[in-house]
Symmetry: C2
Subunit: 244 residues, 2 copies
Amino acid sequence: MPSTAEFAETAALIGDPARANMLIALMDGRALTATELARAAGITPQTASGHLAHLTEAGLLAMTRQGRHHYHRLASADVARMLESIMSVTAGRRPFPTRPARTVTGPRDAALRRARTCYDHLAGQLAVAMADRMIARGEIELFPDGGALSGGGAAFLSSLGVDLEAAHVYAMRRGGGRIFCRPCLDWSERRPHIAGAVGAAMSRAWFAHGWLRRVEGSRAVTLTRSGEMVLGKAFDLGLGEQAA
Amino acid sequence: MPSTAEFAETAALIGDPARANMLIALMDGRALTATELARAAGITPQTASGHLAHLTEAGLLAMTRQGRHHYHRLASADVARMLESIMSVTAGRRPFPTRPARTVTGPRDAALRRARTCYDHLAGQLAVAMADRMIARGEIELFPDGGALSGGGAAFLSSLGVDLEAAHVYAMRRGGGRIFCRPCLDWSERRPHIAGAVGAAMSRAWFAHGWLRRVEGSRAVTLTRSGEMVLGKAFDLGLGEQAA
DNA sequence: GCAACGCTTCGGCCATCGCCGAAGCATCGT
DNA sequence: ACGATGCTTCGGCGATGGCCGAAGCGTTGC
């Protein structure tokens, strides 16, 4: 009876209250650090670390190391679907059980959360929204460990003044395609945005065009009036309360 | 944090190897007895009994008592879907893990398995197939503890010579609607067939019409040539190897 | 560099829970 | 009525596994 054991093991992994809380906390697709997940589960980081190792080895979670932080997220949409199907069977009819004390992440500064630089590229709600739009349109793909710009994506960015030629040359000189286009886990949104040479070229071009402006003494970034016009339209952003 | 605990509890229930094996054994929709499930899980009946009580209380299983047998089955299609989604996440890609020693159920006698009487109504593969067809067409509904014949179902049976009038009168005299139409767990197939006054009227009519014939010294039943013609057509049965 | 921080590994404590033998109830068959 | 069968409850044993404190890397930032 080989694989019936794996089946039970998977379920047993989910069945522990601490691990269950961590998994539920990850169900919105964000990636959280071990310490944050420990808090969500009400256990110490040591204990959480062990749990996370097991969950990752079992293929339920995937982990990305970024500096001294280890970001954990659900390994696939299949895992999320499985968790939801368990919830649907659970007595309480509701599709989502009461959230486990919504973990607050990231900078308190609203402006930073909205848009900022992350090394050489953009981050924050704005950058994540841009990446989402491009993914939805099939202009770009972002995997945990890489990404790819489609022909349409290249044309789109070029039309916005992004110099992909230079980005490509730069990437080739500094380590090949993996540098050209890659995801970066957004540290307030906990979802991927566009990094690599492409991401750098995007921010460089748009600062140069005067569509983006840095906030004094901060990593925060604001869209200028012309930026709202051009980028807001190009990325189909809701032109909402973008005012600083 | 109310319902997150239920979530974990459900998964923990599935996570025990013995319980997992029992659940997997039930995934084909059959209903099995506690002892059979104990064998499938490789544990003693006492232990299985406790497990089954927990699974039932958690809403994963439903139980029907029939004499001294307690038939357990998955509580709903949702539960089956949930189990499948867990399997799909489990490392081994295959949708069904190696079956846990396919439980052999029921009489060895092939003729008995095919068709027989069960008190006053029909049982066996034939009866289960008939019930399945009628359910699929919306002519009848069978719940664990009752059933209902639709208008179309009544017309269909009447066209096959079944005297539903008499059955109704009989049922009313002997305890109300619950007697009229109800399911009976088929003891070889472990799936429901039609019992109650309706089931009795069906077998009575068809014996009278010469479409069914009892086998000497046995509860086994065979379809006659005319029965194959009429019932085979009416129930859309594959006219396969029905030969005794 | 050094201290702070995040994460991990190690060791040992403790509770939970699965397991079975024995015994008690219900049902069936003769 | 009797024994056989199916299921359940009870009690106690044993092991798995979660938990934390302490300590050991690696990264960050001053």
